[in-house]
C-alpha cells in the first residue's frame, strides 16, 4: 500500500514538474492519435456520405461489413500493417516500419470502419423531410448533400471524437508496428504496458493518469456535443 502511495506521489511530481520524458511520450501519443483521426476523418466522412447518398447493389451488406469491423482487434490490424510494411512486405520499400508514420497508418485503418459507419448512421438520422425541404428550396444534389451533412454535424463530430478515443487508447497496434522505441515511437499505452512489467510503477502511474485525463476530456466533449444535438 505504502509503495503504491509513494508511487502515486512521485507520479504526480513527474507530471507537475513537466518531466521531459513524460511530456514527450504524452505529446507523441496525442500527435499520432490526432493525425490519424484527422486523416481518417478526411477520408471516412466523404466516403460515408457517398455510401449514404447513393443507392447501389450490396449497400446493406457493405454497411453490415463496416459495422462488423467496428470492434476489430487492434492486434489484427497490427498484424496486417506489419505484413504490409515489414522488410519483405509489399510496401516494405517505403521503409517506415517502427516509425510514428506507420503507427498513424495503422490507426487510420483501425478507426476507419467506426468513422465511416457512424457517419452513415448520423446521416440516416437526419429527418427525410429535410432532404425534400432542401430540394424544394432549390438545392442541387450536391448542395442537398452538404446541407444534410451539416444537419448531421453533431453526430459526425461525436464519431470523430469516439474514433480519437479509440486511437489514443489502443496498445496492440502501437507495440507491433511502433515497437515502443524510447524517445521515438513510445506512446502512453505502450510505455504503460511495458514499463509496468519492468517495475517502473511511478512512470506508468504518471502516464496512466495522463491517459485517464485525456479520456475524461474526450468524454466531456462528447457529452457536450450530444447535449447540443
Amino acid at each position: 500500500m505504502e509503495e503504491i502511495w509513494n508511487g502515486l506521489v512521485r507520479a504526480l511530481r513527474l507530471i507537475f514538474t513537466f518531466d521531459p520524458e513524460v511530456m514527450q511520450i504524452a505529446w507523441l501519443s496525442i500527435r499520432v492519435a490526432i493525425s490519424s483521426t484527422l486523416i481518417a476523418s478526411l477520408i471516412c466522412v466523404p466516403v460515408g456520405s457517398l455510401i449514404h447518398f447513393n443507392n447501389f447493389r450490396g449497400k446493406r451488406i457493405l454497411i453490415s461489413i463496416i459495422q462488423t469491423f467496428y470492434s476489430v482487434p487492434t492486434v489484427t490490424v497490427g498484424l496486417f500493417v506489419f505484413i504490409l510494411f515489414s522488410n519483405k512486405g509489399p510496401l516494405g520499400g517505403l521503409d517506415i516500419m517502427f516509425t510514428p508514420m506507420v503507427m498513424v497508418i495503422g490507426q487510420v485503418i483501425l478507426i476507419s470502419p467506426i468513422l465511416t459507419g457512424l457517419t452513415i448512421t448520423g446521416l440516416s438520422g437526419v429527418d427525410k423531410t429535410i432532404i425534400d425541404t432542401a430540394r424544394s428550396m432549390g438545392a442541387s444534389n450536391w448542395q442537398t448533400a452538404v446541407a444534410i451533412i451539416k444537419e448531421a454535424r453533431f453526430a459526425v463530430m461525436a464519431a470523430v471524437i469516439l474514433a480519437f478515443g479509440r486511437a489514443i487508447s489502443e496498445v496492440g497496434l502501437a507495440i507491433m508496428v511502433g515497437g515502443n522505441i524510447r524517445g521515438f515511437t513510445r506512446v502512453l499505452t505502450t510505455a504503460i504496458s511495458l514499463e509496468t512489467s519492468k517495475g517502473d510503477i511511478e512512470l506508468s502511474l504518471a502516464l496512466g493518469i495522463i491517459l485517464i485525463f485525456i479520456a475524461l476530456v474526450v468524454n466531456f466533449a462528447m457529452n457536450r456535443i450530444q447535449q447540443r444535438q
Binding site: 425541404t133 432549390g138 451539416k150
Partner: protein, 359 residues
C-alpha cells in the same frame, strides 16, 4: 395552355393507383385549392408538380413547357417554385440561416441576402427570433419560417400542402392571414391543398376536389360548395343530408322527387324515373312547431330523435320517414323548447336543395 397544366397525370405505388388521369389547369396569378379527404393524393400530386417525384404516366407543363427528365432542367424549373411541405421541418440552424438557405443556393450576394431575409422576417413577424435556433420554435412559428423560406426566393409558383393543418386554431388563423396577404400582394400563382373546405373557400379562386386520386370536380368555390357533382363531393362539402329518391315528374326543371314515400320539390334537370340523391345542408332546414305558411315548397313533418348543443348552435335530427339533420340557433331551439320526441316541421326551400345523380 394554363400556367400549370397536367395531362393525364398518374402515379402508382406498389401497384396501387394513387393518382389517376389528373387533368388540372391553374392559370397564372390564380389561387387554386386542392381539397379532399386525407389519403386522397393531395401531397402526392403537389410533390409531382414540384418534381420531387416522377409521375408514372402523363405530363406536367409549367408555363407551356413540358417538365423533362433531366435533373438540370428540373432544378431550373424547381427554382422558380416554392413548396411548403405538409410537415414543417426546419434546418438545425438559426431562423435567419433557414430563410437565407434558398438564396445562398441560388448564389446571391451576401448583402442582397441580408436585405431580403430581414425584409421577410419582418413580414412573418420573426425578426426577434432571427438568431434563435429554428428547432426551438413552436409549431406555428416553424410554419412561419417555412413560409418565409418559401417566399424569400420570390417564386412564381407557390405550393402549399395543408399549410395550417396540425396547428392550434390561433396559429392556424395567423398562417391563413399570412397566406392571404401573400396572395394579395404578389402576382403569384398558388396551388394549395387543404382538407378544410372552408379554408379553400376563403383563400382560393377555384377549387378542385380530389377523391381517391381523381379530380371529381373543379369550379369556383361557390359552385363546388352549393352544387357538388356526386355523393362523395357532397359529403365532403358538408351536405349532411343526402337522401336517395327518384324523380316522379319534372316540368321546366321544377321536379318532384319521391323519397321514402314523401315528395320533395327541387330544381334539377334530371328527368322522370332517374335515380337521384337529394342533398340538403343542415343550415337550410328551418325548424318550427307549426306548419309554416311560407312559399317554401317542402314541409316535412317528423319527430326529433336527438338534439346536441354546441356553442351558439343546436344540431338536431328529425325523423320524417328518413333522417333529416338540421342546424338552428341555440336561442330559437330554447324558445321552441326543442327536445327528443317533440313533433316538428322541417321546412326547406326548393332552391336550397341540390340534386345529384345516383349510380
Amino acid at each position: 395552355m394554363a400556367f400549370i397544366q397536367t395531362v393525364n397525370l398518374g402515379y402508382k405505388r406498389e401497384g396501387r393507383d394513387i393518382l389517376k388521369n389528373v387533368n388540372l389547369a391553374v392559370e397564372k396569378g390564380e389561387t387554386h385549392a386542392l381539397i379532399g379527404p386525407t389519403g386522397a393524393g393531395k401531397t402526392t400530386f403537389l410533390r409531382l408538380i414540384d418534381m420531387l417525384d416522377m409521375p408514372g404516366t402523363g405530363k406536367i407543363f409549367i408555363n407551356g413547357v413540358a417538365v423533362s427528365h433531366s435533373e438540370k432542367s428540373r432544378l431550373e424549373i424547381r427554382r422558380r417554385m416554392a413548396f411548403v411541405l405538409q410537415k414543417p421541418v426546419v434546418f438545425n440552424l438559426s431562423v435567419y440561416d433557414n430563410v437565407a438557405y434558398g438564396l445562398k443556393w441560388r448564389g446571391l450576394k451576401k448583402h442582397v441576402i441580408r436585405e431580403k431575409v430581414n425584409d421577410i422576417l419582418e413580414t412573418v413577424e420573426l425578426v426577434k427570433y432571427s438568431k434563435r435556433n429554428a428547432r426551438t420554435l413552436s409549431g406555428g412559428e416553424m410554419q412561419r419560417v417555412a413560409i418565409a423560406r418559401a417566399i424569400a426566393t420570390g417564386p412564381e409558383i407557390l405550393l402549399l400542402d395543408e399549410p395550417s393543418a396540425n396547428l392550434d386554431p390561433v396559429s392556424a388563423a395567423k398562417i391563413e392571414d399570412l397566406i392571404s396577404g401573400i396572395i394579395k400582394q404578389n402576382a403569384i400563382t398558388v396551388l394549395m391543398s387543404t382538407h378544410d373546405m372552408e379554408q379553400g373557400q376563403r383563400l382560393a379562386d377555384r377549387i378542385s376536389v380530389l377523391i381517391d386520386g381523381e379530380i371529381v370536380q373543379t369550379g369556383n368555390a361557390r359552385e363546388v360548395f352549393t352544387s357538388p357533382k356526386n355523393r362523395e363531393v357532397a359529403e365532403f362539402v358538408g351536405m349532411e343530408n343526402i337522401i336517395d329518391g327518384e324523380v316522379i315528374s319534372n316540368e321546366g326543371n321544377m321536379a318532384a322527387i319521391s323519397v321514402y314515400g314523401k315528395t320533395i320539390e327541387a330544381i334539377t334537370e334530371h328527368g322522370v324515373d332517374e335515380k337521384v340523391s337529394v342533398c340538403i345542408r343542415p343550415e337550410d332546414v328551418t325548424v318550427s312547431l307549426a306548419r309554416l305558411s311560407s312559399s317554401a315548397r317542402n314541409v316535412l313533418e317528423g319527430t326529433i330523435i336527438w338534439t346536441a348543443y354546441s356553442g351558439p348552435l343546436c344540431r338536431l335530427e328529425i325523423d320524417c320517414g328518413f333522417p333529416l339533420v338540421s342546424l338552428v340557433t341555440r336561442r330559437s331551439a330554447e324558445e321552441m323548447d326543442l327536445k327528443k320526441g317533440l313533433k316538428v316541421f322541417g321546412t326547406v326551400k326548393a332552391v336550397s336543395i341540390h340534386v345529384i345523380a345516383r349510380h
